[in-house]
């Protein structure tokens, strides 16, 4: 358990500061009293539904909406043609049929010329209830001319491949990023190539190359995406209740897309039922609900169903990676090179900072000490759903951690070295921090070996290896998999990082009322992370007031200052830092007021939790609550000092934070059926200071379950005709409690040196780190059959086929 300092408890029994505390928001969640977008019902509200394409690639010859419009209860039917007719007063195109993506590409709001993926938005029906809307959708007749789809990223650039983005005048399926590049490279290309070449010719070295697919998966939050939009024609204000992880960024995007004045837009994200990156992007459905209210003058609700969520909203991964690792035969890593073919679907809608077209994938050099690393990422269009958003992936760090951790295991197999020994030999050492990686990241802090030793200790690593050897002798196949990952989270420093030109700093406001109760207003958006609890604890820690005396306000752009929202594990590293900074500003103001009240100089005051007192005379002091009242009173303050304690702050992080961890997974594999049983999972995370260890552990639990899902069952596959084979929860499998072992957690605490409270962010650590541990364990189990690699998901069929020596493309329809 967490080694927290002795923290005093409030009257309600909560820590006045950091420590375990039950989540405040769970009071309503466990009682079914949450308020989600679909719970929002406004007077006169209309409902809507979207007609979607059954084809992956087809030309639209005509759309007949007559029968749909004639259905009683239908208010409006909108097609791409309708949108083309609505002029848009903005720089982003002259009509509403197309909208910008987060990666400076364009995406159809409703298809005009062609459909480009199965599930694409074709027409929009507004009706008096959602059943009628759906009935009307079925009455719309679309005449399609089917075209050959591009379903395999590896064939997207073949000569003669159908061209998907002819709307942009393209002649092939390459993607050009905002900087004008068709590929993105990072690291030392020449040095890495030379090091690998040298190793090839050195009898004391080995070079291992492995093709590794991270297949397409989906964030699949429990709550699907939706919005209720209302344009009040009297005030001119657009109010939008929406499933957004980034309300402020969305407001700015809507202002740009719809050409509406930003100060007249209010985005409200009420309770959000999970995001995992799915609710970062702006989807056609959201925009259509806005157009719907503009057209009808009534509030319009759009709420997608499960199939729509899985088939049309942002997927994750879809990275075809070829990794090469060079090392000495005694296990010193020399260089790593990774070549990636990135499948972005039909529109480049990847959510990531502008300067990072492949996200933070170039942190793939991992947790090891070697000089040369290089990657090249080539994105292509295919006839699949667009997006490529984070899925709790910290901007592609999941792919990065996976490729390096698989490569290290491939190397271990090649040189017949224990996977733990190989890692211990190469891990960065504490004295190397701050460490500049071969691709330019500055890791802020870490004691990697210590963390790994803790994990091995909990696992009983040596005994496990002994057990494995005994079992193998009797024909039983258990596997032990290790993953050591380093993340870079908390995007990010404004000089390097922006999305659509919006720098990634976070604003915050803290008000302290006369009675000492406080309200903190955040720009970030909880989707289940527990912000209402954690942020109260940060204020409690800094001001010494009970957390139950701190109200946390978020999810309403009219009530909170600007910031870029919650994804990429950025809340605690950025907004959490802002919360500490703004609390310290309040504390400093309180000091001046206390000095005036105590008739001394502020320099004579000393702080203890919740109270300023006169140095050397502890009895003479004022609590924050007393000071709050004084700050609103007639007490005379020094000239130039305003009353009240309220403060605001904007936090621009100087660097990312670098949480890391060591995960060990133990599996049993039945080689005759291919079934994998995850027997144990040990996760030791170092996320720096833990504000609420209970919440940290909860986040880790969730991420580990995610990792087991991706490693063993989750997949969005397509057949050759372009049909999505993962469009329901019968086809897209999420893990259940049955597939999850009792998690065995541990921790080390290496505070971030540049974060005000030393916290590093942990929301995605387990999702990033765990898939490799599971896959490494399965491969370890079946290595006696000569298997060095098999791609996710390791379903029973895929494990069995790997054992037969028949590794197949797991992202295609099974043949």
């Amino acid at each position: 358990m967490t080694a927290v300092e002795e923290v005093p408890l409030s009257a309600a029994g909560n820590p006045i500061g950091f420590g375990n505390m039950k989540r405040v928001e769970d009071q309503r969640f466990v009682r079914g009293q949450g308020n989600y977008v679909d719970d929002v019902n406004l007077p006169g509200m209309l409902h809507s539904a979207i007609l979607r394409s059954p084809y992956a690639h087809a030309r639209i010859k005509s759309i007949d909406t007559t029968a749909a419009e004639a259905l009683p209860g239908v208010v409006a039917v909108i097609t791409g043609k309708t949108l083309e007719g609505i002029p848009r007063p903005s720089l982003l195109g002259d009509n509403f049929a197309w909208m910008p993506t987060l990666s400076y590409d364009t995406q159809a709001v409703l298809a005009t010329d062609k459909v480009r993926f199965q599930g694409q938005e074709v027409a929009y029906v507004i009706a008096t209830d959602r059943y009628i809307a759906k009935d009307a959708v079925e009455l719309i007749e679309v005449d399609y001319e089917a075209l050959d789809p591009v379903m395999d990223a590896k064939k997207a650039m073949d000569a003669g491949a159908p061209v998907i983005r002819d709307d942009k005048g393209q002649t092939d399926n390459s993607i050009t990023d905002v900087h004008g590049n068709k590929t993105w490279e990072s690291g030392n290309a020449i040095g890495t190539a030379e090091a690998i070449e040298k190793a090839k010719n050195d009898p004391n070295c080995v070079v291992v190359t492995q093709e590794i697919l991270y297949p397409r998966v989906h964030p699949a939050p429990m709550e699907t995406c939706g919005a209720v939009s209302y344009l009040d024609k009297v005030t001119g204000q657009l109010t939008m209740y929406t499933t957004s992880q980034a309300p402020h960024a969305h407001r700015t995007v809507y202002a740009m897309v719809a050409g509406l004045p930003e100060h007249k837009i209010r985005i409200i994200s009420p309770d959000i039922g999970g995001g995992f990156g799915n609710k970062v992007g702006v989807y056609p459905g959201y925009v259509l609900s806005v157009i719907g209210t503009i057209v009808t003058g009534k509030p319009v609700k759009w709420m997608e169903d499960r199939g729509e969520n899985l088939m049309s909203t942002s997927f994750a991964r879809d990275y075809h990676m070829t990794g090469t690792i060079a090392a000495t035969k005694d296990g010193k890593i020399l260089a790593v090179d990774v070549d990636v073919l990135a499948d972005h679907g039909a529109f480049n809608g990847v959510a990531q900072p502008t300067n990072y077209p492949a996200g933070f994938f170039n942190i793939f050099s991992g947790s090891y000490d070697y000089p040369d690393a290089h990657c090249k990422v080539t994105p292509v269009y295919t006839n699949k759903a667009p997006g490529g958003v984070a899925y709790a992936c910290s901007f592609r760090i999941t792919e990065a951690a996976y490729v390096i951790e698989r490569l290290v295991d491939c190397l271990a197999a090649e040189i017949e070295m224990d996977a733990a020994d190989l890692r211990l030999k190469n891990l960065l050492r504490p004295e190397q921090f701050p460490y500049t990686s071969p691709t330019g990241w500055e890791y802020d802090s870490g004691e990697y070996e210590k963390t790994m030793r803790v994990a091995m200790e909990i696992a009983g690593y040596d005994e496990l290896r002994k057990e494995q050897a005994e079992k193998r002798a009797r024909g039983e196949y258990m596997g032990i998999g290790i993953s050591f990952f380093t993340e870079g989270v908390g995007a990010g420093p404004r000089k390097d990082m922006d999305i659509l030109g919006l720098g990634m700093a976070d604003g915050i406001e803290l008000r302290v009322h006369p009675t000492g109760k406080a309200v903190i207003r955040l720009s970030v958006q909880s989707q289940g992370q527990g912000h209402e609890t954690t942020y109260a604890q940060i204020v409690a820690h800094e001001l010494g007031i009970p957390p139950e005396d701190v109200e946390v306000v978020h999810g309403d752009t009219d009530q909170t200052p600007f910031g870029l929202g919650t994804y990429g594990s950025r809340s605690t590293p950025v907004s959490g830092a802002a919360a500490a900074v703004v609390s310290r500003k309040v504390r400093d103001r309180a000091k001046i007021v206390a000095a005036a009240a105590l008739e001394c100089s502020p320099d004579d005051l000393e702080w203890e939790l919740g109270r300023w007192f006169v140095k050397g005379d502890k009895e003479r002091g004022k609590t924050i609550q007393e000071i709050a009242l004084l700050s609103h009173s007639s007490l005379e303050l020094p000239e130039g000092v305003e009353g009240h304690l309220d403060a605001t702050a904007v936090y621009n992080p100087p660097n990312l934070t670098y949480p890391y961890g060591c995960y060990i997974c133990v599996v049993d594999v039945d080689p005759l059926t291919g079934q994998v049983k995850v027997r144990r999972f040990i996760a030791v995370d170092d996320c720096g200071t833990r504000i609420n260890p209970m919440i940290v552990e909860g986040q880790v639990h969730g991420g580990l379950a995610d990792g087991i899902g991706m490693a063993l069952m989750e997949l969005i596959a397509f057949d050759e005709d372009g049909n999505n084979l993962g469009g329901s929860f019968m086809d897209y499998l999420l893990p259940t409690a049955v597939e999850c072992p009792d998690w065995e957690l541990g921790e080390t605490v290496t505070p971030s040196p540049h974060h005000p409270i030393g916290a590093k962010g942990v929301g995605e650590s387990a999702t990033v780190g765990s898939p490799a541990a599971v896959v490494n364990a399965v491969i370890d189990a079946i290595s006696p059959f000569g298997v060095r690699h098999a791609d996710m998901p390791l379903t029973p069929a895929n494990v069995w086929r790997a054992i037969q020596g028949n590794n197949v493309r797991t992202d295609m329809a099974v043949e």
Partner: protein, 289 residues
């Protein structure tokens, strides 16, 4: 939220009432028992019955009892009740093993035996077990009832002998003293349909297989059965070699299709492996009986 097409609803008060309702609405009516296949299909608009005849109030279809040398299971018996039934467990432990791996507790609490058989999904576990045990089903219509052997009940995937205006009322399973039984299933995740599954029973006397039954789901076995393998094994010694031979024959008899659960060759392999495992355990528990 998924929204079904317009439909109407009536709640039957007796089997006769249900039959009358079905007759009234003809082929536009569907019986709703547990609703755990029908409702999802309606929500996806893959099914769009104009009238739902709800039979959840029909207490006359909710029994598990012994009549003569048969166990009789009413059509409205929930999976959960099969799982917990001491009568079924006493005679065929395979019922419990099978039910444990059918869907999840939420589905088992509502889903019914009759619904499972009538849905006739090729991957349906209870149908495979019913076929292994060579049970019969009782179908009623306005004229009366008839009894159909399980191995003639299904015409093929999703089609059965239950015609419009008819209700499946009972499943009848013969009791076989000394029988051992087992159920084996491979699934991608708990609650998923089977990649392959096999139920078996074996009656062993003096080391010889006196009777046996093999039922397979999701592997393209006609009527969920493997009669050639049974014929091979009956009268033979219950040796590992003979069981393996029977399993191989059963697998040969299957014609699975590739899908996202796995390729055909893998499913065929599973048919053999799971048949062998189920037979082994059936023999063990038979000898123990």
């Amino acid at each position: 939220m998924q929204t079904p097409a317009p439909t109407d609803y009536v709640r039957a008060t007796s089997v006769d009432d249900a039959l009358a309702q079905l007759q009234k609405y003809g082929d536009e009516a569907r019986i709703m028992a547990g609703g755990h296949s029908l409702i999802p299909m309606m929500r996806l608009r893959l099914a769009r019955p104009e009238m739902l005849v709800d039979i959840n109030d029909l207490d006359e279809l909710k029994h598990i009892k012994i009549e003569g040398n048969e166990i009789v299971i009413g059509a409205m018996v929930r999976h959960r009740e099969v799982l917990d039934s001491p009568i079924l467990f006493e005679h065929y432990a395979a019922f419990r093993e099978c039910e444990k791996v059918i869907a999840d507790p939420v589905v088992r609490n509502r889903g019914t035996v009759g619904g499972s058989f009538c849905q006739a999904d090729p991957a349906e576990d209870l149908s495979a077990l019913g076929s292994a045990l060579r049970g019969t089903v009782v179908i009623r219509n306005a004229q009366g009832s008839r009894t159909v052997p399980m191995r003639e009940f299904h015409y093929g995937p999703y089609t059965t002998q239950v015609e419009d205006g008819e209700i499946l009322t009972e499943i009848r399973i013969p009791i076989r003293p000394g029988a051992g039984s087992a159920y084996e299933k491979v699934e991608r995740r708990i609650g998923d349909w089977a990649v392959a599954s096999v139920g078996t029973f074996v009656v062993v006397k003096n080391g010889v297989v006196e009777d046996c039954g093999i039922g397979l789901a999701a592997v393209g076995a006609p009527h969920y059965s493997a009669p050639e393998a049974e014929a091979f094994l009956i009268g033979k010694e219950a040796t590992e070699e003979n069981l393996a031979q029977a399993a191989a024959i059963a697998a040969d008899h299957c014609d699975p299709a590739s899908d996202q659960r796995g390729p055909a060759d893998y499913k065929k392999h599973l048919a053999k492996e799971l048949t062998l495992r189920a037979l082994r355990r059936s023999v063990q528990s038979s000898q123990g009986a």
